[in-house]
Amino acid sequence: MEPLVRCNHLTKYYGRFPALNDVSFLINPGRIVGLLGPNGSGKTTLIKIMNSLVTPTSGEILIQGEKPDVRSKARISYLPDKLFFNEFMTVDELMAYYEDFYVDFDGDRAFELFKDLHIDTSSRIKSLSKGTQEKVQLIMIMSREAKLYILDEPIGGVDPAARDYILNTIISNYNPEASIILSTHLISDIERILDDCMFLKNGRLILYNSAEALRQERGMSIDEIFREVFRC
């Protein structure tokens, strides 16, 4: 089986600062991978390289065996850690935008999810609360039939009740043959859904295994392993 993501000796320097240092890994289809690490560990840089938003200093990343290009972008559904839509757009216009550019976007599914959340699709994104804006972003991302979902801090800025909704949306809406990379430092909230865990520290990949194997090996939850590994 060809891995969905193959990362070979990836290094990224910002000036003299190494944001990523010789990172290599494989991600197989159908896995939910937690990309875990404290602030500044290189999670977002790694995600940006996967999405061709930043050019690596050396090394390469392959999506289904190909370097990131137009085709790989059509397979990846990416949720950044900030609001990335034009705030003056209405939710309806946003759906029309996605339908125009992504052939795998399921407008009906998105509309149903908006209806469930009582989000008025005729309202401008700017007029929505921050939490609702994040939900709109997530619904748009999860309404695609992508091969790889990359979610950068999807639950970072929302209340615990909204976190449950977001995690349920992720689990119930993703294509089972697809993989999800989920970056966060709120481990306890996402631990139950993770198949694999990837620990990044100072730009280096220090631990990568299945969540179950890590729990058995160390006799602790992922949250406890995180606290132990990244103890200040």
């Binding site: 840089t45 999405n51 938003l53 930043v54 972008k73 990335f84 003056f88 550019f101």
Partner: protein
């Protein structure tokens, strides 16, 4: 994809600029009404009305000049926002080639800038026509323009060289369009260079704009000097100068074509390097 990009660009532009257009047309109409009222009540000596007319007239003229002038800046700022700012996270993850993105944005920007000029021109003509101000009408009035045009085309020399004149007009218009395209593309290139830096991207964009501008100005000065020396500095090109003086219409066509060609080459270079930079050196940090 180019069509889709342009469609959404126009939707974004419309959202911001449509109220500006409405405002410009509204101020023009208001200015016309005030002018008419002022003319109607001229015997009653109403200083407030005169003052209001003067202010609104000034505002209208400022808008008619500023709206098209700032449209290029607006388009360039929109490029920054959608390519290097927060919205870049969406733009650069769309399954679209960078070539389509840059050219689509540049083309829609050019059409929009041309549209703002047309709107301003229509407002101005409307104002001149409806207010019947003598000064404006002597220069821009419909009757005057048509009169001058008909006189011009009745001239036997003009009739003899009608094809060359029409070609020159066409070439000048094309050169003007490509000039707008280049101005926008030049802004895009500076943004594509500025985004390479990890910090102060806007400042670096402005610095690149200044540096390239100085470079192009210096280069064009050198080129013009060299051409002048080649053409006028020796007796070698006397036949050429003689030919130009005898065939001034062709010379004008040639000049218009040269303008078009230079602008087209510069626009191509700007797009080419912007696409290369955004494809190979994107730095959305």
């Amino acid at each position: 994809m180019l069509g889709k990009i342009m469609k959404h660009e126009f939707i974004f532009i419309k959202r911001i600029y449509f109220p500006v257009f409405i405002g410009t047309v509204g101020v023009t109409l208001f200015s016309i009404i005030l002018y008419k009222l002022n003319t109607f009540f001229v015997s009653k000596d109403l200083p407030i009305l005169s003052l209001a007319t003067g202010i609104i007239n000034g505002l209208m003229m400022s808008l008619l000049v500023l709206v098209p002038a700032l449209s290029v800046l607006f388009v360039i700022m929109m490029f920054y926002r959608t390519m290097v700012g927060r919205e870049g996270y969406l733009t650069h993850t769309l399954p679209i080639k960078k070539r389509d993105l840059v050219i689509g944005k540049n083309l829609s920007g050019m059409i929009f800038c041309l549209f703002t000029m047309v709107v301003s021109l229509i407002c101005f003509i409307l104002y001149c026509y409806l207010t019947d101000i003598k000064l404006y009408n002597e220069i821009f009035g419909f009757h005057q323009v048509f009169h001058h045009l008909s006189e011009f085309f009745k001239n036997p020399t003009v009739q003899e060289h009608l094809l060359e004149i029409l070609l020159a007009i066409l070439l000048v218009f094309a050169a003007f369009l490509v000039q707008i395209y280049f101005n926008i593309g030049y802004g895009y290139l500076c943004i594509s260079l500025g985004q390479l830096m990890n910090k102060h991207k806007i400042i670096y964009t402005i610095l690149f704009w200044i540096a390239i501008n100085i470079g192009i100005s210096t280069l064009s000065s050198i080129l013009i000097s060299m051409i002048s020396i080649l053409l006028l500095g020796t007796n070698f090109n006397e036949p050429l100068i003689d030919f130009i003086s005898k065939n001034s219409f062709y010379a004008f066509d040639l000049l218009a074509f040269a303008m078009l060609a230079i602008n087209a080459v510069l626009a191509f270079l700007c797009n080419f390097f912007s696409i290369r930079l955004l494809t190979n050196k994107l730095n959305l940090e």
